[in-house]
Subunit: 459 residues, 2 copies
């Protein structure tokens, strides 16, 4: 694109949205990265901080007229490179559109702007006796709009569902500036195709989410009861998790840490975890929490676990903190590439076996935590330096293939973004890939919105 | 289309699927109707009873080559005219594809063919301690494939969600015979766009569902506790329902019957219901059912209700049967046009007020039952004869407009089909309507699949 046209576009943005456009390369650097470890090839053309739906429409019209890409960004906490921008691209930040427009107790819904942080929203909802279920680990620093754009998961999904189940309706701005209202304010609604569900998880490639009507739940009565159990092997821990599911229990949280992760935690915290082969953290909520937790503790004990069970707040925090220490412990070991495959629950043990074999084959460390209630594994490659070594990409590639071979998926909750776009077609197959590409074209015929994300460029 | 070509097509079907093609007009009559009261203009060209995915692909290839429409049909229990076929159309029955291919307790899923009846599936799943949550009133006679094609609702949606939340993956045959696998076998999965959610509720216009991977739930421990409460007015009953929600309760069932419905039931069953203005039926399940039900009974009592509460199976059946008698009671009064609007919960009283005013304005009876937990109303027009009188269509049209004005939707759970296609654009708006039409074209460029349903012809 001629430099003149780029300059004209930045000028047009400055004129239309005075004081809200940043074009100083030094200040644009943060927009070239997220939490995936990935960086774009250089600084974007400009960043715009939108404050209203009209602002977003204005940016889209200017960008469309010039054929310049728009990369939408919330808090930049993504793990797939989905919201990073490079040269010649406009970054559109929705972080300042962070208001709550409505909370309705009777309709159990909230209408919010996309930039509000998940944790902040939930803190406010608690005063109404309500909560919004999506709980990505990033919830205190990630936006609701970003959670929706990625169809975020978290710890509670086996019981409370993914983000898709927690959104009733969206307002979305298309590439040409058209404002679309999709979904329903009602609990049920089957008029036409479900574009709201389609938009959730589309990673900024179809439309820009500018308002969301969220389905809320009443806060659960009673407290939680938490179980921590060490096992000799990851197979034993996985078998225990499997027994919990097969017996019909629905714990809110069921997390697994493997031996490699425990070794990292031991080194990081100074705890003696020698001889510990795996850890299972389970939390029950709801009116029958105590009874259910006791039954689950028995299951874990019968499966060979060394079991703690508690309803005491301090003890609970200690058990949860042990799980939470995994990420910092890994971070302290080097640079991380956090992977995110999901497999059917009955293939978790197979997935762990493959991970162990990849460690040997590629001489890399892959400590792995797992949302054991839903088969979503986070094998985490740890390495030195800032560039992902080619051996790790090779191992990651084998890991993805394994996930598909086991009947699973490339990504359980982090999304495709830049990181996995080269494997997208492997999972979808050529026919579905082509259909998805053509659906993208229906919404964004000139490929203005987040081009190169999800789908490889020039696909 | 030349008669020769039609004859050739029927011949090609006979040759490809010997013994499974019906072309005798006398035997094709059932396919011209469903339970909506709507009839197509005449008998279809032929009916094919598919027994395998390959059969479906064969039919699609033959139909596509000749440009002949294919109308997919399960049990024909729909309420929107979505699965009825007329002259020059092939009806493709999936009723004989009714097998269960897999039940996995550990993965909490079942893989089924589309023609299996919902009730039969659930009877089998019960032996595994599992169930599939979608519970349309038709469940004993409607197919799982039909439930998915319409994104069926039911009584339990406020607590357990609609059909969309209960489907993990689908196999779908496209108009040209391509077989597509969409969705995931895993609980979580965010690879690419969510075509599985998009396909659910698409009413046979995008693809033909030939296999479904269903997300199951463990059967709830403990029994149910049921509450029946009469109120003087529908406003009081709606206020009671609203209090139940605002206090954070999640009953499994919360059904409302208005005075007009009670009058019909009284006439049908001979009960003395004089002075009764509305009825609320509430059922609680789960481990805290008893405690929750007691609290809800108090709420209903404080709202002015005459309250019964029971955990006794016979008494429970009596309370449920009272609600179930509404439909037969209405049927005994004449021909029914069952409507299906949904409004935000806090607008239910407004919706009832409009229904009463429409009764006066058009001099018609509109007894109304309501899924009060989710604001889904079934205003039912009762009339003599088989043709819907124009006054009733006019009243229905006003009802739809009212639903939209109240922030609701044309259809909560029955779908658009033929019956509401003329109002589709009113709800979607022109831009979204156009996008939906173009998405249909991506899947079915020659408009072979269920043309004229959902979207008006020549739209």
């Amino acid at each position: 694109m001629p430099v003149d046209q780029l300059t004209d576009t930045v000028e047009a943005l400055h004129t239309a949205l005075p004081g809200r456009v940043e074009a100083d390369p030094a200040l644009l650097a943060p927009y070239t990265a997220d939490r995936s470890g990935h960086r774009s090839a250089g600084t974007p053309l400009a960043a715009v901080r939108a404050r209203s739906i009209e602002d977003v429409q204005t940016v889209c019209r200017i960008a469309s007229a010039a054929g310049i890409p728009v990369v939408t960004r919330g808090a930049g906490t993504g793990l797939a490179g989905g919201a990073i921008a490079g040269p010649g691209e406009i970054i559109l930040s929705l972080a300042e559109m962070d208001g709550i427009l409505e909370i309705s107790e009777e309709n159990r819904l909230a209408v919010v702007e996309p930039g509000i942080l998940n944790g902040r929203l939930n803190a406010i909802l608690a005063d109404y006796g309500l909560w919004w279920a999506p709980d990505p680990a990033s919830k205190d620093i990630s936006t609701v709009g970003g959670n929706i754009a990625m169809n975020a998961g978290g710890l509670l999904c086996a019981k409370y569902g993914v983000t898709r189940e927690a959104v009733l309706a969206l307002k979305v701005v298309l590439a040409d500036g058209t404002l679309l209202s999709i979904g329903h304010r009602t609990v049920k609604g089957v008029t036409g195709y479900d574009l709201c569900a389609l938009m959730i998880g589309s990673e900024g490639t179809m439309g820009i989410i500018v308002e969301a009507t969220l389905k809320l739940l009443p806060l659960t009565e009673g407290g939680t009861v938490t179980i921590g159990a060490f096992f000799d092997t990851v197979e034993e821990a996985a078998a225990a998790a499997s027994s919990v599911t097969r017996r019909g229990h629905m714990p809110a949280i069921m997390e697994l840490m493997d031996r490699r992760t425990l070794e990292c935690v031991a080194r990081y915290t100074g705890q003696d975890l020698s001889g510990r082969g795996a850890y299972l953290l389970i939390q029950c909520d709801g009116p029958a929490a105590e009874d259910t937790a006791q039954q689950i503790a028995n299951v874990a004990w019968n499966a060979g676990g060394t079991v703690e069970i508690t309803a005491d707040p301090d003890e609970t925090r200690r058990l949860l903190d042990f799980r939470r220490s995994a990420f910092p412990a890994l971070e302290a070991m080097g640079t991380m590439l956090v992977e995110d495959i999901a497999v059917p629950r009955d293939r978790m043990t197979d997935a762990f076996a493959v991970i162990r074999s990849l460690e040997e084959k590629y001489d890399v460390l892959i400590p792995t935590t797992c949302h054991a209630g839903d088969g979503n594994l986070h094998p985490t490659f740890v390495f030195e330096g800032t560039e992902v070594p080619s051996a790790i990409w090779a191992a990651a590639g084998e890991l993805f293939t394994t996930a598909l071979d086991l009947g699973g998926t490339l990504t359980g909750e982090h999304g495709i973004g830049l990181l996995k776009r080269d494997w997208l077609q492997d999972e979808l197959g050529p026919e579905q890939y082509e259909i998805q590409r053509r659906i993208k074209q229906v919404f964004d015929p000139h490929n203005i919105l987040n081009p190169g994300k999800v789908f490889p460029p020039h696909a």
